[in-house]
């Protein structure tokens, strides 16, 4: 016999009451962003598109040399993405800006790499803890824990983590490391920041960089778009950007300001704390089964369980 409409509502009400009565404090999502993280501030108005950062990154991380050398600027003819062989790329954009003196279009250059989010979606999505956010700001990847599910690649709002598809035996997820080893062992800034000839990349504590970015906005009226990309996007990122051209024209995504792990983690943690939801589900199902069985035996008392 089917579950009656009235009985269904009764059961649903019990479930809802249990869900609401669960203490809220246990559910409230809290950011795990490190308080004193390092970061980098990229000033797009300073970048000259020399690709030295790509070269330094390639050398430091011992990545394979590209087919086209680093001084070949014709790579700018197409938009590139970081992949398993390059952790960072610089792309050229023509936003319509024109040189005042010569009347020629002026190019802007944007460096892309892992943004090292304060509350990274990849860390939240990783089921083995291979991705973690370190106190120094780096989103760290531990190949020993990785099972290759590539959830991190799906979760990343910036589409950064890449995979060594060509490597059948020991494939790894590849992405910018914030030169963690340089930072922790030699107290040195990331290679891309060090090599940059114009200091388009400034390295420092994220809090200091934010202040610096605000100061640059304040001291140079009209030079920049009044926005620090990465200050609030997806809850904040360790890489921050200042630009003299609207970010939307430079391929920057318009992203929610809330940390991405917040909604899924809130849902998941509230549903699974103390395993109450599976317990409730199976209790309900058990109740329904018991009830059905009881009603069946009441309606047909003369028929015993076995047919023989």
């Amino acid at each position: 016999m089917q579950l009656k409409r009235r009985s269904f509502f009764k059961l649903a009400a019990v479930g809802a009451a249990t869900a609401i009565s669960t203490p809220r404090s246990a559910l409230a999502w809290q950011s795990k962003a490190p308080a004193d993280a390092f970061g980098c501030l990229m000033d797009i108005s300073r970048c000259i598109g020399c690709r030295k950062c790509e070269q330094a990154c390639n050398a430091v991380n011992e990545l394979p040399l590209p087919v086209r050398p680093f001084d070949d600027l014709s790579v700018f003819d197409e938009k590139r993405r970081p992949d398993a062989t390059k952790f960072t790329v610089v792309n050229r954009y023509h936003s319509g800006r024109v040189d005042d003196d010569k009347g020629l279009p002026v190019a802007d250059f944007v460096k892309i790499q892992c943004m090292h989010c304060q509350d990274p979606a990849c860390v939240s999505a990783c089921i083995t803890g291979a991705m973690s956010k370190k106190s120094n700001g780096a989103v760290h990847y531990d190949a020993d824990k990785c099972i290759g599910c590539r959830y991190c690649m799906v979760a990343c709002p910036f589409e950064i983590p890449a995979y060594e598809y060509h490597n059948p035996l020991t494939p790894k997820v590849m992405k910018c490391t914030l030169c963690e080893t340089l930072l922790s062992e030699q107290n040195k800034p990331p290679a891309c920041a060090t090599i940059c000839p114009t200091e388009a990349i400034t390295f420092g504590k994220r809090s200091t960089l934010l202040k610096l970015a605000k100061k640059r906005l304040h001291d140079n009226p009209g030079r920049y778009v009044d926005h620090v990309y990465g200050e609030k996007e997806v809850g904040g990122t360790s890489w921050l950007y200042l630009s003299n051209v609207p970010f939307a024209k430079l391929g920057f995504l318009k992203l929610p300001l809330k940390p991405l792990p917040r909604l899924p983690e809130t849902l998941q943690h509230s549903l699974f704390s103390y395993l109450w939801s599976p317990a409730l589900l199976f209790t309900l199902l058990g109740g329904v089964m018991y009830r059905n069985h009881k009603q069946q035996t009441l309606q047909h008392p003369e028929q015993p369980g076995d047919v023989s």
Partner: protein, 262 residues
């Protein structure tokens, strides 16, 4: 006989042109030609410039806050001029940059030339220390302290808004060269790549003739030689506006009557 001399002349021109293009190896080749004499040509004041480049002076803590126009006017009023500059030839080769990376040799900078061309010290000396006492250095005047008095290591945690020395150079030099349409704007325009010592690389007989020397250069520098074939050094012809009194008379050249013998 005349033909031989002519060929020799052309060969020498080729050698000279290639030497001009491969400047760093010039000294080395000269040395070999002078039968392993260890005298290497250096610019006058080279050693002193090298020493100055190594100096580290205490960092200026506070700078006087003033706008560019006020700064320019005040600097003008002090009547500081190019005559007050003690040194004119500088090598930009600071330990602050070397500590981080070492990809290029020193950059040669002619202070006198820049001062004379710009005529306004405040273009480069854009700020000064807040007070005279805070600056201890070798400059004649606290108004015109050297770049590295304020710009030292990059990403200094105590002075986050201050550029490091390398960025200060690049941000100051390159845009100005672009605007003025003068001076180098590419990497190799200022920086010579680190060139290996050519003494060991060049292999020539005891008394080489000019063509042997050229051939030895071309052994490695084939690309440079090909590039040179497209330059004025190889293709020159016609009158030259820079030859006084004979500006209209020069009709001969490699592109016209002379033979390219290579």
């Amino acid at each position: 006989m005349i033909q031989q001399l002519f060929r020799l002349k052309i060969a020498l021109l080729v050698v000279l042109s290639i030497m001009l293009m491969v400047q760093p190896s010039l000294a080395a080749i000269e040395t070999v030609a002078a039968q392993n004499d260890d005298v290497v040509w250096t610019a006058p004041g080279q050693e002193k410039a090298r020493q100055r480049a190594q100096q580290i002076i205490p960092m200026v803590d506070k700078v006087k806050e003033e706008g560019p126009i006020r700064r320019s006017q005040r600097l003008h009023a002090t009547e500081l001029s190019i005559k007050d500059a003690k040194n004119t030839y500088f090598l930009l080769d600071s330990p602050f940059i070397k500590a981080q990376e070492d990809h290029y040799g020193p950059v040669r900078f002619n202070h006198g030339q820049h001062a004379a061309a710009s005529g306004d010290c405040s273009i480069c000396h854009h700020l000064r220390p807040a007070d005279n006492s805070s600056y201890i250095g070798d400059s004649n005047h606290p108004e015109t302290v050297r770049c590295s008095a304020c710009h030292q290591q990059a990403f200094h945690p105590d002075y986050p808004e201050r550029l490091g020395l390398k960025a200060a150079y690049h941000q100051s030099c390159t845009p100005c060269h672009q605007q003025q349409n003068k001076g180098p704007v590419t990497c190799s325009g200022c920086h010579l790549n680190k060139v290996p010592e050519h003494k060991q690389l060049v292999k020539l007989p005891e008394k080489p003739d000019a063509l042997q020397v050229t051939a030895e250069c071309l052994r490695c520098h084939e690309d440079e030689a090909n590039d040179m074939l497209h330059t004025a050094h190889w293709q020159w012809r016609g009158p030259s506006g820079h030859t006084q009194d004979h500006s209209r008379e020069i009709r001969h050249g490699k592109g016209t009557t002379a033979l390219n013998n290579y």
